[in-house]
Amino acid sequence: MSNKMAVIHLESGCQQLVLNWDETQYDFGDRLCSTDDCIPGTGVYLRHGYIYSSLAGYILRKNEGEELPVISVVRETETQLLPDVGAIVTCKVTSINSRFAKVHILYVGSTPLKDRFRGTIRKEDVRATEKDRVETYKSFRPGDIVLAKVISLGDVQSNYLLTTAENELGVVVAHSEAGAQMVPVSWCEMQCPRTHAKEFRKVARVQPEYLLA
């Protein structure tokens, strides 16, 4: 007896509605599939060599060029992402200190987070060269939007640890003391269009394809 509630077949990509937690008890005998047929993606878990769904949503089977298709269960509402080690996040600086800068993580990749997580950028993680001669006051200011990468989930006392020690990471949007949005001049300076004053920031070199024309 099949326990898939309603099967909606569409031509390409064959999306089906499956209800979570397929049983694989002896009476019902259904599960998503075994690990010989598919590779597990997101929203599923492995147990005794079989793949079970862990979400209530739609099955997505994708053939990604490897021998086996990748099976995952998705909900159309935005998948709740948590900042993971190695992810590029967009954050806003809330306070700075001589040793670190505290930020609120707003976006993970390109998905916005519903709740703000807190992160820390230590002085030695601001840039890759001359780490000991960094001044946080000349790298970030409160209110700046910064692209950073997560290096650690942190331990009990600390928040997420982030780094901007790459060319593509750093400040992307900053406002000058006069209040206007500044234009980057070099990797360490930004200029205000109104007063033409230059201010020090650790500027990110954004890839051209991410800039809107």
Binding site: Q15, L19, W21, Y45, A56, G57, E76, T77, D155, V156
Partner: protein, 277 residues
């Protein structure tokens, strides 16, 4: 000498009037008849039919409402959120926080808004029943909050709270190994009453003297994995009666399972209609 003007005390030989209340209603209907008050049978797995609906509360990440007979419960789930108190736990897995409250108008006597000790007990039991079902390792450094509110208490509140909470978790998109369903049973010497109402749960203490095998049992069960995550029992029951009761509760959970699945399917379809890609 200061005089107490605020209290009016009766004469010293007075007695409380509640001692003289005749408890007619409780004793009457619990003689050993075959049918229960609401028409269900004793000794058979006859759970009350449930009405469940997900996704009622727009502000919460996920929510569910369950009605079984007159018992009405609503549950909301928030999260994963950043963990507030970063003490004791390691950061590799998330934390589940449960909170179960009775609305003041839910029971026969008006309750208070402050959480009493039995509400704290029930919250703890709810936490123990739900935790094995949720994939907490996928949410490091976060906490997931589950809040259950009982709107009307007509018996087997913990069992329905477990079911309602796991539906709300599913509605919120929290990854789980399996749904957790709850069922409770009231044992009366020879027969049992599954999914008891409030009167059946509490009224039997005075009936038919013989103190053998009187008790109640609540089981939280994961149907596909065939595992029990929560067990709560009250009263005195023999060992085989107890194991028989657990098996009966498991059967009751299986009866509920298709209804819950259908409600979840409808909720998923409503939230996100299948895309035509």
């Amino acid at each position: 000498m200061p005089v107490d003007t605020k209290r009016v005390r009766g004469p010293e030989v007075s007695q409380s009037p509640s001692l003289f209340l005749c408890k007619t209603a409780a004793n009457k209907s619990f003689t050993q008849k075959d049918a229960r008050v609401d028409g269900r049978q004793r000794g058979q797995v006859d759970v009350r039919s449930v009405f469940v609906r997900c996704g009622l509360i727009s502000q919460a990440k996920g929510s569910a409402y369950i009605e079984a007979g007159n018992t009405k419960l609503i549950c909301c789930v928030y999260g994963p959120r950043e963990m507030e108190r970063k003490d004791e736990t390691d950061m590799k897995s998330g934390r589940l926080m449960t909170d179960m409250r009775f609305a003041p108008f839910s029971c026969r006597e008006r309750g208070s808004w402050i959480q009493g000790s039995d509400e704290k007990d029930l919250s703890l039991m709810l936490l123990e029943s739900l935790r094995p079902g949720v994939c907490l390792h996928k949410y490091p450094r976060s906490q997931i909050e589950v809040n259950v509110m009982v709107l009307e208490n007509d018996g087997s509140v913990l069992a329905h709270a477990v079911t309602c909470a796991s539906m709300a978790l599913a509605d919120a998109g929290i990854e789980m190994y399996d749904l957790v369903l709850g069922c409770s049973i009231r044992q009366e010497s020879a027969t049992y009453l599954i999914d008891p109402t409030y009167l059946e749960e509490n009224g039997c203490n005075l009936a038919s003297g013989s103190g053998d095998n009187f008790g109640s049992l609540t089981v939280a069960f994961l149907p596909s994995l065939n595992q029990i995550s929560g067990l709560q029992s009250d009263g005195e029951m023999g060992e085989d009666i107890l194991t028989g009761g657990v098996r009966t509760c498991i059967e009751g959970c299986f009866k509920l399972y298709p209804v819950i699945q259908q409600a979840l399917t409808k909720a998923v379809r409503r939230k996100a209609p299948p895309s035509e890609s």
